[in-house]
């Protein structure tokens, strides 16, 4: 199978899952009820379409970020979470809820993006001009636990149980009841983030030879790092701002696709975008189909699928992963 054919199949899979995501839910809407005068059409248009669009965009952004970060850090365990940007954005959103302004989408979104920007700023200060992937991963890990600690702190001092419950629900990550307004905020940021990340392929390929060799091939490492951190911050930050933290997509997707598209980092970018979108659409359809009065949270579901996958990965690559 040639590469364009593989890409087309992946895109077709995404389209099918997109359609499935419009049908699936407590109310099953079969295809022949679409576009008509059927009242269920309203469910699709007002509830499921914006949710599916957001899911595809955020999944795509997470998958692409994972592929870029794994390439940049030359570490198959990297994903957007390791930069601490997700935690920063989550802390920003939680702070907005804590101060009672979580009801305003503008303030919630703005506060989350400010949290992501803060994380980027701190990364810049910690890592500075060293432009080394190792210092970035260390600084990011510290930021991630700092963000988590600050969030836990806010929960623990929250004076009112409703705010606590709202925060905890939000953190778990979900696409439930997200509509066109959320999409209008997040999609432009995600689109810019994706466009920037898609330009990094050549540089990531060169990094397969190590940082010094990449520089000797003309890759400006400092600029590349700033571009990646900025683009991931913008896109993933916007995603977290509207859905909460959804982990594992960025970690899993490039691994699923490597056997199919090869290990060359630039060859994985577009497939990981499509694959991430497909995976999140599938997961979001599944959580809606699960029985029970309450939906399983998307973030929780991804973690439950993702963690066993991660263990399997560790067993498979044991000894071969890490820094080599």
């Amino acid at each position: 199978m040639s590469r364009p054919a593989k890409l087309l199949s992946l895109a077709a899979l995404m389209v099918v899952l997109f359609a499935l995501s419009l049908m699936a839910g407590k109310v099953w809407v079969p295809f022949d009820a679409w576009f008509g005068t059927d009242p269920r059409w309203w469910i699709i248009l007002e509830l499921r379409l914006p949710r599916a669009i957001l899911g595809a965009a955020i999944g795509g952004m997470l998958g692409l970020s994972g592929a870029v970060l794994q390439g940049y850090m030359r570490n198959p365990l990297a994903d957007p979470g390791v930069l601490g940007i997700s935690s920063g954005a989550a802390f920003g959103a939680v702070a907005a809820i804590f101060f009672g302004v979580g009801g305003s989408l503008l303030l919630l979104f703005g506060s989350a993006m400010a949290g992501a920007a803060g994380a980027i700023l701190l990364l810049g200060i910690f890592v500075g001009r060293s432009a080394s992937a190792v210092s970035l991963i260390l600084a990011g890990t510290i930021l991630a636990s700092l963000g988590g600690a600050l969030t836990a702190f806010l929960i623990s001092i929250s004076p009112n149980p409703f705010a606590t419950s709202e925060i905890v629900t939000w953190i778990m990550g979900a696409l439930t009841d997200r509509g066109y307004r959320e999409a209008a905020y997040a999609l432009p940021c995600i689109a810019i983030g994706m466009a920037l990340l898609l330009t990094t392929g050549r540089a990531l390929d060169a990094l397969a030879l190590g940082e010094e060799s990449a520089r000797s091939l003309g890759v400006p490492m400092g600029g590349l790092q700033a571009l990646i951190v900025g683009a991931v911050g913008l896109g993933v930050g916007a995603g977290v701002a509207v859905t909460g933290v959804v982990g594992f997509v960025g970690l899993i997707v490039p691994h699923l696709l490597r056997p199919w598209f090869g290990e060359r980092p630039s060859a994985l970018l577009l497939p990981s975008l499509l694959g991430g979108a497909a995976l999140l659409l599938a997961a979001d359809s599944l959580v809606r189909l699960a029985p029970g009065a309450n939906e399983v949270k998307l973030g929780v579901a991804m973690a439950m699928i993702g963690a066993p996958f991660f263990f399997w990965l560790l067993l498979k690559y044991r000894g071969r992963i890490l820094w080599n």
Partner: protein
């Protein structure tokens, strides 16, 4: 075509790794950089390709200071092979070699016809066509070394700078690599090699630059510089010259 340093001084942290180094390298010749561990050989190679900046003096490429030359133009002119080279992903051989074309490629789009021709030629020149479609992690160290050399050649650089390219190769592959470097020099490229083995240096070098504690201890043709008294002084251990066959010089460090 010329590559030289003028009063180059490089500090890394508190350490002066290169001090007032002035050296000229000639195209079409193989210059071997020798010296004890920590003498600054690797640092000199990295300064020449612009990986570490100098605090004083200049690196001049075709009479222009390196700092006014864009990274892309530097990368087109000079190919660099790092010490202990790694290949992080299991690329296929052809994709690995094609990395050498990066400085020639536009921002977008696939490789041009010229890119593909250069990659094919580099594969052919190093005898690595058979590895073109094989994952590099399935190759032996010697096979991978040849592919990495093909990666340098694919960029059609005027200068090849390699930091200990023979390390961890068996004798047959060492000779094989030296032959490939010789052929590149015969075609007009300037070749700079950091080596540790004095006998390999004597076998391949046209010119020799010996560094000691960041300073130039000796520079000149192989005949002039590779002598037992000079080497004994630089390495601070008695080194004897043994007459090899066909006038080849062999050196033997006897220890104290």
């Amino acid at each position: 075509m010329e590559l030289r340093t003028r009063d180059l001084g490089v500090r890394l942290g508190q350490r002066q790794v290169l001090d007032n180094v002035s050296a000229i390298f000639a195209p079409g010749r193989i210059t071997v950089l020798l010296g004890p561990n920590g003498a600054g050989k690797s640092s000199l190679l990295k300064s020449l390709v612009g990986l570490i900046p100098g605090q004083s003096g200049d690196v001049l490429l075709n009479r222009r200071p390196l700092r006014v030359i864009s990274m892309r133009d530097r990368a087109r002119a000079m190919a660099y092979l790092a010490q202990d080279p790694v290949v992080h992903w299991n690329l296929i051989g052809r994709d690995l070699v094609a990395l050498g074309r990066l400085p020639h490629r536009g921002a977008f789009g696939g490789p041009s016809r010229a890119d593909m021709v250069a990659v094919d030629r580099a594969l052919a020149d190093t005898g690595t066509q058979d590895f073109a479609d094989r994952p590099v992690h399935s190759l032996s160290g010697g096979e991978r070394a040849r592919l990495l050399l093909a990666r340098m050649l694919a960029g059609e650089p005027q200068w090849l700078l390699a930091d200990e390219p023979l390390a961890s190769l068996d004798p047959a592959h060492q000779i094989d690599m030296l032959r490939l470097f010789r052929r590149a020099a015969d075609r007009g490229a300037g070749v700079l090699l950091v080596l540790h083995d004095l006998n390999q240096a004597a076998r391949i070098a046209d010119d020799v630059l010996i560094l000691k504690q960041g300073c130039v201890a000796a520079m000149g043709t192989s005949q002039d510089v590779l002598t037992a008294p000079l080497l004994s002084r630089v390495y601070e251990t008695p080194i004897h010259q043994i007459a090899g066959e066909d006038g080849m010089r062999l050196f033997h460090a006897s220890g104290t």
